[in-house]
């Protein structure tokens, strides 16, 4: 290795906890802000929340 060539920087990512974490793919990131899909998720999550609220109130 010549004196002009900078020595390769040690790889660090595998020393960080985030290296072992699951990461979203580009499709997942896209869907998170894709309006038609998010409108459907808005409806679906609200419906699920209403079911849970109903179940919780029923137990009272």
């Amino acid at each position: 290795m010549s004196a002009e060539t900078p020595s390769p920087k040690p790889r660090e990512p595998q020393t960080m906890p985030s290296f072992f974490a699951a990461r979203p793919t580009r499709l997942t990131l896209f869907l998170r802000n894709f309006l038609p899909w998010q409108m459907w998720r808005f409806t679906w999550i609200n419906l699920k929340m209403l079911i849970i609220i109903r179940r919780s109130h029923r137990s009272q």
Binding site: M16, P17, S18, F20, A21, A22, R23, P24, L31, R32, N33, L35, W37, Q38, M39, R41, F42, I45, N46, K48, M49, L50, I51, I52, I53, R55, S56, H57, S59, Q60
Partner: protein, 484 residues
């Protein structure tokens, strides 16, 4: 004619008072005692803390609302319960000290037939040296704290725009904290706003938590069914942090905070230090320190309250190891076992034990997340207690309505960035809140209902909830139709 006194005007106390007024007769009195003049929709404090909302947008004055609806309001701090009255008068009463300007410091004995203790927590910043607003760290626990945090955040943003590098540490300020979900919500909002201000490359963001794993949230984590797998919540939380470039430190008990430095002990027993330019560290909770006295003036505080200051109710407080904890240990009626006309709602009741597995460092320091105290169960408990009291005043021999956290679910929406088109939030549903391994042997929860996902839809839901619950809290027309 009966008089019901509600101590506290937070989510639980305000809900209880509103439903008591709705369900009790015209001749019955409902009195609310609260040291603060306003109601605070606490879940939106996160947005105040990054400068997106003003303090005034998450609070409103209580006195006009109560005046309009026939609820008596005393802006005062409760000091002591006298559930047996005095030797000369057996009428129970609560001793309060006014905080209203002009009456500050005046004391009054407020008699009651039923009392709901919904005093919420004492923000126990004193548990950690140097922790808290006015000292060396910030908080978003109150609207005022959040506004101060926003000022500090925006000042740091300006410095980064001038080229300075800054480190933000967000998380829990003690080994026995709760509300890790709120800390997570704040750190991802902070990171989102750093990007919005165009200074993300100048910032190091670190999440410092007492949780054994990210995503524990004080409820022993949760599992969700997604993409062909049953996934534990630590995977989801770690994924969010990795995506956002947020570093994390778990299993930490912060024991001292100085200007720009925090010292913490790890579960492995190591002492470590972290430096920061801005730290938002939540405090542990304790009871507000109410005392109780018997008829002859003897101190009966230990009979009515647990050592941590929260009120004992119909829970199973017999100490037992984690493996023997059961869902039925948790209270159902929130009635004092000593005085049948005394109830505790919301954060004020003493949990029978934590939910997350307890851990202790080699030095004996407990480091694990305390039980979660969120808005939805607090409101549902307040409503159930109000219903029981209304029924008991009509002749029922005991409380009639239950609100066990082991039998109810919770919906929680944690903002991960506020923007109507580019924002996201984590929408989480847990059922039941307290894991029940007798009903759901594998994961303690019903995986058909337990869910979590991140997306723009969650942010829209968070905005709807902000406006809907402030509308409801203002007791506007149709308020009681909005579910808790």
């Amino acid at each position: 004619m009966a008089r019901v006194v509600v101590l506290g005007a937070g989510i639980s106390g305000h809900t209880a008072a509103a439903f008591l007024r709705k369900w009790l007769g015209k001749n019955d009195e409902v009195t609310v005692v609260s040291p603060l003049p306003h109601y605070n929709w606490i879940p939106s404090n996160i947005w105040v803390g990054v400068g997106l909302l003003s303090e005034e947008q998450v609070i409103f004055p209580l006195a006009p609302v109560y005046r309009k609806h026939g609820i008596e309001f005393k802006q005062a701090r409760a000091l002591a319960l006298h559930p047996e009255g005095t030797e000369s008068n057996p009428q129970p009463f609560v001793e309060v000290e006014w905080t209203l300007e002009g009456k500050t410091g005046q004391r009054e004995n407020v008699p009651y037939d039923f009392l709901v203790n919904a005093t919420g927590p004492k923000l126990n910043f004193g548990a950690t040296e140097g922790l808290g607003p006015g000292k060396n760290s910030l908080s978003v626990c109150t609207a005022r704290h959040a506004a101060e945090t926003a000022s500090a955040f925006l000042e740091n943003v300006e410095r980064m725009k001038r080229g300075e590098r800054r480190r933000f540490v967000v998380g829990t300020g003690h080994g026995m904290c709760t509300c890790e979900g709120a800390a997570l919500e704040y750190v991802v909002n902070l990171e989102f706003e750093l990007r919005a201000h165009g200074v993300r490359d100048k910032a190091d963001v670190v999440f410092l938590t007492n949780e054994y794993q990210l995503g524990d949230f004080g409820m022993d984590g949760l599992h969700i069914r997604r993409s062909g797998y049953i996934t534990p919540s630590n995977i989801l939380a770690e994924s969010l942090f990795a995506e956002r470039g947020i570093d994390w430190i778990t299993r930490a008990h912060v024991k001292k905070v100085e200007a720009g430095h925090a010292w913490y002990e790890t579960l492995a027993g190591e002492d470590r230090e972290i430096s920061f330019d801005m730290a938002m560290l939540l405090p542990p909770f304790a009871g507000v320190g109410l005392q109780a006295f018997g008829r002859q003036g003897e101190d009966i505080t230990a009979r009515v309250f647990a050592p941590n200051g929260f009120m004992r109710v119909d829970a199973d407080y017999v100490p037992k190891p984690y493996e023997q904890w059961r869902a039925c240990d948790w209270p159902r009626y929130y009635q004092s076992p000593v005085y049948k006309n005394l109830f505790a709602a919301g954060i004020a009741f003493a949990p029978p034990h934590p939910v997350s597995r307890p851990f202790t460092s080699p030095r004996g320091t407990p480091i694990f997340a305390a039980p979660p105290r969120t808005g939805m169960p607090s409101a549902m408990i307040g409503k159930a207690v109000a219903r029981s009291i209304a029924d008991m005043l009509r002749g029922a021999p005991g409380p009639t309505h239950t609100a066990s956290m082991a039998e109810m679910g919770a919906a929680c929406v944690a903002s991960a960035g506020a923007n109507p088109l580019k924002g996201t939030a984590a929408a989480m549903i847990v059922y039941p809140i307290i894991p029940d391994y007798e009903r759901y042997p594998e994961y303690g929860r019903d995986l058909h209902y337990t869910m979590g996902e991140i997306g723009l839809a969650g942010h829209w839901i968070k905005i709807v909830l902000h406006h809907m619950f402030l509308y409801k809290a203002r007791l506007r027309p149709g308020w009681s139709l909005i579910p808790e």
